[in-house]
Symmetry: C2
């Protein structure tokens, strides 16, 4: 709980998720939140809770994850948390910015959108410098076809097809099946096929399910109209295999 003597501090965090069991703190395993809270505890000499914008899964990377915490250290300008935390953190987690934010700011609940990127080597194995950061597929799908699938996602879209089977929409019949998708696009960059998507929120493993499903049907050259029917039907068993985590980057988190 914050009080008048506490300062709400927002952090921007980048990490290589390959050697972590995801963002969320869990006993007995190495997590990004765990490493950060451990460093914050060393600085504050007491436990500090860190609120993250997105709970990235094991193996998923972040270019700009966002998180906030309430600091009791009055004497330290918030930007000084950047070098202080980086000195304590392992090299595969870096704090890139820190700033004071209003007390009501919450990294997760104040976020208006998140952007992700997913990287794919097409028709070839991964090169050594790509292995931690991309998936490989043995075929080269049509870029226009993938982008015609991607355009179907734009707007207020029923995303049941890509929802995790453990999601509340299935287990409890609660929660919205819709996500507001503002951007979804494939492009080629640096020899890799890149999928970029931004939405107000995502189901767990949703980006990886979209990528796996798009690739599954693009390999079979399913026409866009037929894919649209599958998307609108929203039968989970029609989704393709979920793409592996190491190709995925949490790219940015947006606030008003």
């Amino acid at each position: 709980m914050q009080n008048h003597s506490e300062q709400n501090v927002k952090l921007i965090i980048s990490y290589d998720g390959a050697d972590y069991s995801g963002w969320q703190i869990q006993p007995g395993v190495r997590t990004v939140q765990g490493e950060l809270e451990s460093a914050l505890q060393k600085i504050h000499r007491k436990p500090i809770i860190l609120y993250g914008a997105g709970r990235t899964d094991a193996g998923v990377h972040a270019v700009a994850q966002c998180a906030n915490f309430f600091s009791t250290i009055q004497t330290m300008p918030p930007r000084n948390f950047v070098p202080a935390l980086n000195a304590l953190l392992p090299r595969d987690i870096r704090v890139t910015a820190a700033a004071a934010v209003p007390p009501q700011f919450h990294a997760r609940f104040s976020a208006t959108a998140r952007a992700y990127q997913y990287r794919i080597a097409c028709g070839r194995p991964l090169l050594p410098h790509e292995t931690r950061y991309a998936m490989s597929i043995p075929f080269a799908p049509s870029l226009p076809l993938l982008n015609s699938y991607a355009r179907l996602l734009l707007g207020e879209t029923d995303c049941t097809l890509f929802a995790s089977p453990s999601d509340a929409i299935f287990t409890r019949g609660s929660g919205s099946r819709f996500r507001r998708i503002g951007h979804a696009h494939f492009f080629i960059e640096n020899g890799l096929l890149v999928f970029e998507i931004a939405a107000n929120a995502f189901f767990r493993k949703m980006v990886r399910s979209i990528v796996g499903t798009f690739l599954h049907y693009a390999q079979r050259e399913l026409p866009t109209s037929a894919f649209e029917r599958i998307l609108r039907e929203g039968k989970r068993e029609k989704a393709g295999p979920t793409a592996p985590p190491h190709g995925l980057f949490l790219w940015n988190v947006f606030y008003d």
Copy 2:
């Protein structure tokens, strides 16, 4: 020495050079050529010499290094060396292609040009997924200014400014000071400043010297005309500090 029972085989090789003491085989240290020759020896049950197109330095990566060797295995189609070698090689070296070539083909002496890329994070520290593959500078140089420097390199260019002090042009006064540079260009890709250069040949550490020198003078906003005088004078002491190896990729090797 090849004879009529030997098949000249060309390999395309990709590697993450971070954990290697460079390409060239040396006793007591881990090198890319050493790992490859060791794998070739296991397949052939005798020592095999591998001829590489470019001797990348310690820490330098390759997307498409080229090399050739003479195989005494008549029964194996050359393309089968790809899975055979990859099964024996560490994960940070991958053979991406193998093909039969004429007996006179030599990966180094037959090459007509090499291309390199160098990656730079400007005005920010490296993100965790970039640390092995880019350098960081604390300022943001002018892209047009860097490209105006780069244009001065095009054509038959006296590259003394960028030659290693241990080069024969200094130590023995022998060898050409000129290199034929066909391409030299800076661009932004995926949040990084990228320098791409192709030439018939390079002095040792020449790309890293070009990058370090360009950044040194671009930071000081030296006008192109003044930089041109420094380039034409070719006084080695006017070069900037050599950029670190891990930002450099041998990108491609060209043959007629």
